[in-house]
């Protein structure tokens, strides 16, 4: 097909988790014939094992599909799949910026959810044409008319003639494609202006190096061009450009304004490609980069250590490999007295952290010990200098601190009315500041709170789930730093401080947290030959104390007729158990103890 912008449609699919985004994407791929039925695995675009298992998209993906519409014209459809979680909000916003339209998938029985709204607002901010699609009409509980009404009332989008779909059963897919052709505007970008290519994703290919997924907003790019990263300030020679197929590449001579595709330029380090950055030509640069770039900053940090110290190298290689594909992951070596050699890792959020941990454990077969997640605190010292602290251990002595600030988020909770009280109580508990409350369709309420991020990462999701029996949904966005009365809470085992257990907390929370951690440790640390005092302390002041009593009884009564195998097995088990423990002074602490303190009851 020759280049003709009027036949290009760039769109994405937005939806609340579980509303069927990936299944719809699969049906579209199948219908347009780019995926043969026999090649289809469920949810093609979610290629990572973890993505499929958790039903969420972690990385953005783009696929080009030829589609001959009912008007007889062959169109080039570019479907850009976006990550589906609040941790990846920024990546989503860049993917949206690459499109002209968005299919809004809404579950015919669930209706609008928190993420639906958040995504719609974001799509509207990017001036996208929104095509509502009601999915799962095959469900007995489907109420497409009610849901349509909801969309019209709450979002103000006309649902007249909107496709009613069962992605699962392949019903209504043609309607969706026709709607895309009819309603999503064709790009109107200037192919003769200097190149401006928006990077909306990056990943690593073993043969091509780090690759940029791009949407050309102006100009052209072809093999041999010298390109410049406008924010990244580095230049490369293009080795390949092209479009994506569901399972591979379709190299082209050039990419032109309005098109979506990839650029490869033998880039060795993915850190040279920043999502949101603009690629231009070195010899004919655009005057300005595209708007909206912001460097991705990790919000949550934690220490990751190999359970077996001998696995340090494997862990380092594994992190290096994951980082190849994930510019948002940061890590650097750190040493803990309790845990030995490991890494301080930075993540976009808790889910991102969890995903990385699971991938390390699964794909690299590593056994890990993880410290409590921490946010980045701002410390203003008495000498006027400012420090950013992502590890409680690095906090300067109290007398050198003038004040501290903590990151705060703008949080939205959507809940059935009956749980409003429970949620307000929870947000109160979490030091939240009430902002706003709105009644929305279906007897639901949208609550708006300012919450300290360190309360959100500590057990907020679990609490929200249990207090609302899973009915509430939650979304947040980083707002900024606020001054706060924070203290470092240390844990002492047998009088020795265990650095890996230190946390920074609000002074008002220090006492209950200290007591709770001490209790948790008491449960997690097995009795040993010597009594172990556990203390929680702020500055040298002990605020809570527990004791692990000395081991009472640990002996096998008998051995049968010279069969010592049971004894040996038990000994091996005990040795193994001991090896998996960390030595804090004279105390052996099981790896689980470091995790146990993260959980509230």
């Amino acid at each position: 097909m020759n280049y003709d912008q009027s036949r290009i449609r760039n769109f994405c699919i937005i939806a609340h988790i579980d509303h069927g985004k990936s299944t719809l994407a699969d049906r579209i791929l199948e219908r347009t014939g780019v995926m043969k039925l026999r090649d289809m695995t469920d949810q093609v675009l979610d290629s990572m094992e973890l993505e499929r298992e958790r039903g969420i998209t972690i990385k953005s993906k783009a696929v080009r599909m030829p589609y001959t519409a009912k008007d007889g014209v062959e169109y080039e459809l570019n479907l850009i799949d976006t990550p589906g979680h609040v941790d990846f909000t920024y990546e989503v916003s860049r993917a949206l910026a690459a499109c002209e339209g968005a299919i809004l998938v809404v579950d015919a029985s669930q209706g609008i959810e928190a993420q639906t709204l958040a995504n719609v607002y974001m799509a509207l901010e990017h001036d996208l044409e929104i095509l509502p699609v009601i999915n799962k009409i095959d469900l007995p509980s489907a109420q497409p008319e009610v849901v349509k009404g909801e969309i019209e009332d709450e979002i103000g989008i006309d649902c007249e003639g909107c496709p009613l779909v069962s992605a699962k059963q392949g019903v209504g897919i043609d309607d969706v494609l026709e709607a895309v052709v009819e309603k999503v505007p064709a790009p109107t970008d200037d192919a003769d202006a200097p190149l401006q290519a928006l990077i909306f994703d990056s990943y690593y290919d073993n043969y091509r190096g780090a690759i940029s997924s791009v949407r050309l907003k102006a100009g052209r790019v072809k093999v041999g061009d010298r390109i410049r990263m406008m924010a990244g300030r580095c230049e490369f020679d293009v080795t390949e450009v092209g479009a994506y197929l569901p399972l591979g590449y379709s190299p082209k001579d050039e990419l032109c304004a309005g098109e979506v595709g990839y650029i490869a330029a033998s880039i060795k380090d993915i850190a040279d490609i920043h999502v949101g950055d603009t690629i231009t030509l070195a010899n004919n640069p655009a005057k300005e980069p595209l708007p909206g770039y912001k460097p991705v900053l990790p919000m949550v940090y934690c220490g990751i250590y190999p359970a077996d110290g001998a696995d340090y190298e494997t862990l380092r290689d594994a992190l290096e490999k994951l980082r190849l594909n994930d510019a948002a992951l940061s890590y650097e070596p750190e040493t803990s007295v309790a845990l030995g050699y490991g890494f301080r890792c930075g993540f976009l959020g808790l889910l991102h952290m969890e995903i990385i941990q699971q991938r390390l454990e699964r794909e690299f077969d590593l056994d890990l010990v993880t410290t409590a997640p921490s946010v980045v605190y701002k410390v203003v010292k008495t000498d006027g200098t400012t420090l950013m602290i992502d590890n409680p251990t690095n906090l300067p002595p109290v007398q050198e601190i003038d004040w501290m600030e903590e990151p705060c988020v703008d949080a939205q909770v959507i809940t059935p009315q009956e749980y409003v009280g429970a949620i307000m109580e929870l947000c109160q508990d979490k030091r939240g500041t009430f902002k706003d409350m709105k009644y929305i369709e279906g007897g639901r309420v949208l609550l708006n709170y300012d919450l300290p991020l360190n309360e959100v990462i500590y057990d907020f999701f679990d609490q929200l789930k249990s207090r609302t029996r899973g009915y509430a949904s939650f979304d947040y966005e980083l707002k900024g730093y606020v001054r706060s009365d924070l203290v470092k809470l240390d844990m002492l085992l047998n009088g020795e401080q265990c650095d890996a257990l230190s946390i920074i907390v609000h002074r008002d929370r220090a006492y209950p947290r200290g007591r709770s951690i001490a209790e948790k440790l008491k449960e997690a640390i097995p009795r040993q030959l010597f009594e172990i005092p556990i203390q929680a302390a702020i500055g040298g002041k002990v605020i809570a104390r527990e004791t692990v009593k000395a081991l009472r009884k640990d002996v096998l009564a008998k051995c049968y007729g010279g069969d010592i195998t049971r004894k040996k097995k038990l000994l091996e088990k005990q040795k193994e158990g001991k090896k998996r423990m960390r030595q804090v002074g004279s105390v052996a602490v099981p790896s689980e103890a470091f995790m146990a303190v993260l959980k509230m009851d």
């Binding site: 009472r552 002996v555 049968y560 007729g561 010279g562 010592i564 000994l571």
Partner: protein
Amino acid sequence: MKPLALYLHVPFCARKCAYCDFASWPGREGEWWRYFDALVTEIRLWSENTDFGLLKARFRVRSAFIGGGTPTLVPAEWIAEALRMCRQIAPFDADAEITIEGNPGTLTPGKLRAYRRAGVNRLSLGAQSFDDDLLHTLGRIHTAAQTVEAVRMARDAGFSNINLDLMYGLPGQTMAQWLDTLNRAVALNVPHISAYSLILEPGTPLAARVASGEISVPDDEAVIAMQRVAVELLSKSDYGRYEISNYAKPKSESRHNLTYWYRGDYLGLGCAAHSMLDQSRFSNPDALDAYLAGERMTDVQRLKQWDIIEETVMLNTRATRGIDLAAWERQFARPFAPQDDKTLKRLAGAGYIEISDGRLYLTGRGLEVQNAVVLELLEIQEAMER
């Protein structure tokens, strides 16, 4: 000539006890004879076997132990025949300790006399408790009165070296019941008493009943108290504790028992029997069918230096004589621990171990947590090996 201990396993019983998870089967009388036939064949083969050199050229038998199961269930003549054949493996010392394990409910004066004639000079009775209700809970086939009667019969038949096996930490057992059992055992004035704390083995009916909450066992605290009471009460009657679960009047320690703890050579014969010869461990299959089918010496393990060190620590420390430090140094060509070792000091300071007269041994308190102390001592060994 090196000393050798023989173990003969009889894997049959009248009824499976509720706590028992070892190789023993009730019924199967049809297989008794086949089993003894196989056992005698195994004994004969060992008398000619040269895998470890011809045993009769290298060893003399210092002890033999016929265990089970319930060896006193099968005809006494079969036991006598097996023992007679054993003398072909290696010559027996004139004063060899030859023990048979017996259920008090299965003994008769006739059987006892037959054992004596066959050279058996020690009887180990599974008394377990002197409380009939507890015996019932355990699934034992005998009563307390039968135990008393069995001891009388044994003495009449000429047995003076008698052991009573007792158990504590039983479901619903009170301290008073335990004291009563100990007192009645002591009153019988046998030279040897074993007192085992009950181990709930997974898969046994007793473990299932405890897991379901139907019955409950005393907690660790109570079990420790029972064990301490046993040490105290028995020592007053001149029974010295020489191993975690074994008590004997002076010079009545079981030689066979000590062979296991001090890693002497022993040869196990029969189904599920374990052996250690020349620092190799091996065993016969646990399953009766596999044994009858002729499978022998599975799981041969040639012990390495580190295995031997580990076993020595693990086993020697069960005995109250502990580790002979000079013997250790001779065997491993290095001391047990560096001068002024911190771990040893800590353990001694806390009263878990004592070192005197060239021996390192666990105290009463140390024996209560022997596993944990062993781990500490092994860490010293790991450091010494590095």
